[in-house]
């Protein structure tokens, strides 16, 4: 076996070895049982006291969502003004200018919603103050928001009939103090001892071996890169994200970064099962997600290691695979591996440029984001999957002619309506967004924006279309990766993707939590012989079929115009 394959095999194993016990730990911790991190209690109590919070106050689903939305809106306002005025604020050793209003609008939404689409470049667009006090802060808090909402959703199914989903502040603070912060410290230390800068020193300058004068961007990056992965955020310190050799210096850091972005999404799925005392359900969902992930992963690796057929035609050897946009220290196998996981878990960090990957790899990346429920982002992955699950429950109910039920609660018209709306939201936003972009590109090529629409695309033809489709998909999925050739720092992309990101974040959180809240209030019906069992392999396959059918119907036409057409246009 070659060392590149062994490299991803060990990443995969580590992800399971850490993710699975973490899921059990989270279930205990959020349930308030005794865990070894209880030594954090005094710190948490201090935080509650200073903030005037009573962590034991029960909340129903509406109160819970109100508290969540309130603090998120506060961050939007706070960040917007700081971003626009970074030039007047301290900790700006490289003298970066303030952001324009449309860029600040896009950027702050992007970070609040755990998307981290970056229309600026880290080195020249963000001061150290912004990177830490806005971006890194939101890396923690947006991940904790997602986790807190997922736990409220779990809580709804833990008790037979309840209106109490727990306390938002309690889950939110604990997600930081008992999960994100301790793990970030570990990961940041690994990174900094492997060469990622962590000091506050500004740009450096030296004369190279050949005599060129070179400027080097640096800064306290390790701290941010740790949480950027653990929180499935993906917004990097440097423009090239984790392809940059300071952001991801060697193969060990590469394994660390790819493993750390997977462990919480995996843990949350299993946590669901353990938390509600139905661990089999957690494992069935885990199984469906893992099969889905592998179905995207294996063809991606195969298409990247196969190399670029157009370059092969020139007589060049591609012993390890396609190398455009990739780094030698990782190789095509690890880059393909990363590209699949970063798109399914909504991290969106990259260790190689997605715009330069092979057409079919691009197809799998796009599909991963469109489905957005194979593990998914911190907390929100489970919520996205739940929508598919409700649809599957509903369809199964119709098929066998019974009132659909989920975990002892009747699923009725109101819940199914919410689920259907959320299901339709993503295709609508992605398709309408891409259609408008394509329309502007063809009909208003000369609009007087920072980047003229006719100059948006870095690549002609089908691939150019894929660039626009990818951007809209990434925004809606709150992923944040991009076909970065797209000239996206202008009012059109800043505003359109800003709107997509905010809708694509909060509606898919509000929907599932509302459904859970509504279900939890209903009378509990004990299981009988006639109950549709949702923790069986059969039902898992049913959900899988629903996911495939829904997404194939929604997205196939657009994918056919982009990556699929490009694939068939390339030499064989």
């Amino acid at each position: 076996m070659n060392t590149e394959l062994l490299g991803i095999a060990v990443s995969f194993l580590l992800m399971l070895v850490i993710g699975i016990p973490l899921g059990k730990y989270l279930a205990k911790m959020f349930a308030g049982e005794k865990v070894w991190t209880d030594f954090m209690k005094p710190i948490e109590n201090g935080i509650y006291k200073l903030s005037g919070i009573n962590p034991n106050e029960p909340m129903d689903w509406k109160q819970f969502l109100k508290a969540m939305m309130c603090i998120n809106m506060l961050w939007l306002v706070y960040g917007f003004f700081v971003l626009m005025n970074q030039d007047k604020l301290p900790l700006n050793p490289d003298g970066n200018p303030g952001m324009t209003a449309d860029l600040a609008f896009n950027t702050i939404i992007s970070f609040v919603v755990n998307c981290n689409l970056q229309h600026y470049s880290g080195e020249s667009g963000a001061s150290y103050l912004i990177q830490h006090f806005i971006f890194m802060f939101l890396h923690f808090t947006s991940a904790a928001t997602g986790i807190a909402c997922a736990v409220a959703f779990f809580k709804a199914f833990r008790d037979k009939t309840t209106t109490n989903l727990g306390n938002f502040w309690n889950y939110f603070v604990k997600a930081i103090t008992r999960l994100l912060l301790p793990l970030s410290i570990v990961v940041a230390l690994i990174l900094t001892f492997n060469g990622t800068p962590s000091s506050y020193a500004g740009k450096d300058q030296f004369i190279s071996l050949q005599g060129d004068t070179v400027h080097v961007s640096r800064g306290p990056a390790a701290q941010m890169i740790a949480i950027k992965h653990l929180g499935t955020n993906g917004g990097g310190w440097f423009g090239a994200n984790s392809a940059n050799p300071l952001e991801n210096p060697n193969y060990l850091t590469n394994i660390t970064e790819i493993v750390s972005q997977m462990i919480i999404p995996i843990a949350m799925v299993l946590c669901f099962g353990y938390f509600i005392g139905r661990k089999k359900l957690g494992w069935v969902i885990f199984g469906v997600m893992m099969i889905g992930a592998l179905m995207l992963l294996i063809p991606s690796i195969s298409s990247e290691t196969g190399g670029n057929s157009a370059i092969a035609k020139m007589g060049i050897s591609q012993p390890t695979g396609a190398m455009e946009g990739k780094e030698v220290r990782f190789g095509p196998t690890a880059t393909a591996y990363w590209s699949t996981f970063t798109t399914i878990v909504s991290t969106g960090s990259v260790n190689g440029m997605h715009d330069s990957t092979m057409p079919l790899t691009g197809l799998w990346q796009l599909l991963g984001m469109m489905i957005n429920g194979f593990f998914g982002g911190c907390g929100v992955g489970v919520l996205n999957y739940f929508i598919y699950l409700i649809i599957a429950v509903f369809i199964s109910g119709l098929m066998v002619g019974r009132t659909p039920e989920f975990l002892g609660h009747k699923v009725e018209a109101r819940e199914v309506k919410i689920a259907a709306l959320i299901t339709l939201l993503s295709p609508f936003l992605i398709m309408a967004g891409t259609a408008i972009a394509a329309f502007v590109f063809t009909n208003h090529g000369n609009a007087d924006w920072a980047v003229k629409p006719s100059a948006w695309l870095n690549n002609p033809g089908y691939h150019g279309f894929s660039e626009m489709l990818y951007e809209m998909t990434s925004a809606n999925a709150n992923n944040g990766s991009g076909f970065e050739g797209l000239g996206d720092n202008n009012i059109f992309w800043n505003v359109s993707t800003g709107v997509l990101m905010i809708l694509g974040r909060f509606l898919p959180i509000i929907g599932p939590v509302a459904i859970a809240g509504l279900l939890a209030k209903k009378k509990f019906i004990p299981e009988s012989a006639g109950t549709l069992k949702t923790d069986t392999v059969t039902f898992g396959l049913m959900t899988f079929a629903v996911i495939l059918v829904l997404n194939a119907l929604s997205y196939f036409p657009a994918l056919a115009l982009g990556p699929i057409a490009e694939y068939f246009s390339m030499p064989k």
């Binding site: 590149e4 062994l6 060990v10 935080i47 200073l50 903030s51 005037g52 919070i53 961050w75 470049s121 006090f133 802060f137 808090t141 502040w169 410290i185 900094t192 060469g195 962590s198 000091s199 450096d204 030296f206 190279s208 071996l209 050949q210 060129d212 070179v214 961007s217 701290q223 440097f238 423009g239 090239a240 940059n244 050799p245 300071l246 193969y251 157009a310 370059i311 020139m314 060049i316 050897s317 390890t320 695979g321 190398m323 455009e324 946009g325 990739k326 780094e327 030698v328 190689g352 440029m353 715009d355 330069s356 990957t357 690549n459 691939h463 150019g464 970065e484 050739g485 246009s569 390339m570």
Partner: protein, 190 residues
């Protein structure tokens, strides 16, 4: 309204914890690392000539060359070409890089050229090349320096970094470190 007051107070408390206490702690710990958390540098005669992890431009004939860079090895920024695999302009660029390589390495067959020498890296700052990419340049180096093939081959072998623990990931050669060693080797012994 009550939520808003709580939100503001909690935000302030968390800013202190997450944006001051946590990063400053890591920054202090980083002082113990190689390069004191500023990035590891490489010096020749006491002068910094580069960062170990960041590639730099080598165009002179007497040096090993690194990969093509979309940002010209400008380490103040970073980025790839973002060219799609079927883009005709991009394929022309690749063809002309092949021609350039063949011009300076007339002894090479096309099939001996590894893909990374004619494609731009993701960061534009890739510090490494594969051992195969170093090997094809050895003959050119010996023509431009008073060195034997044997000496340079040994040097490349000594600077080939094995996969992690010998098992995981690709083998690689850091171009800057190799060139510094090459300069060292070429120095007349006192």
């Amino acid at each position: 309204m009550k939520n808003l007051v709580k939100s503001i107070r909690l935000t302030l408390v968390l800013i202190v914890l997450l944006c001051v206490v946590y990063p400053v702690f890591i920054s202090f710990a980083g002082k113990l690392s190689k390069g004191q958390g500023n990035g590891e540098t490489i010096s020749v005669n006491g002068k910094v000539v580069g960062y170990a992890n960041e590639g730099q431009s080598f165009t002179q004939q007497k040096y090993f060359w690194g990969r093509p860079s979309a940002v010209g090895y400008n380490a103040a920024g970073s980025g790839g070409s973002n060219k799609g695999p079927s883009n005709p302009d991009y394929l022309k660029d690749v063809a002309s890089r092949i021609d350039t390589l063949l011009k300076y390495h007339p002894y090479l067959k096309r099939s001996e050229i590894p893909a990374e020498m004619v494609t731009a890296s993701g960061s534009g700052l890739d510090p490494d090349i594969s051992p195969a990419a170093a090997k094809i340049q050895i003959e050119r180096i010996t023509h431009n320096r008073q060195l034997t093939v044997m000496q340079v081959t040994d040097l490349v072998a000594a600077h080939t970094e094995a996969p992690l623990l010998g098992l995981f990931g690709p083998a690689k050669v850091n171009v800057l470190k190799l060139n510094v060693a090459l300069d060292d080797l070429a120095k007349p012994a006192n």
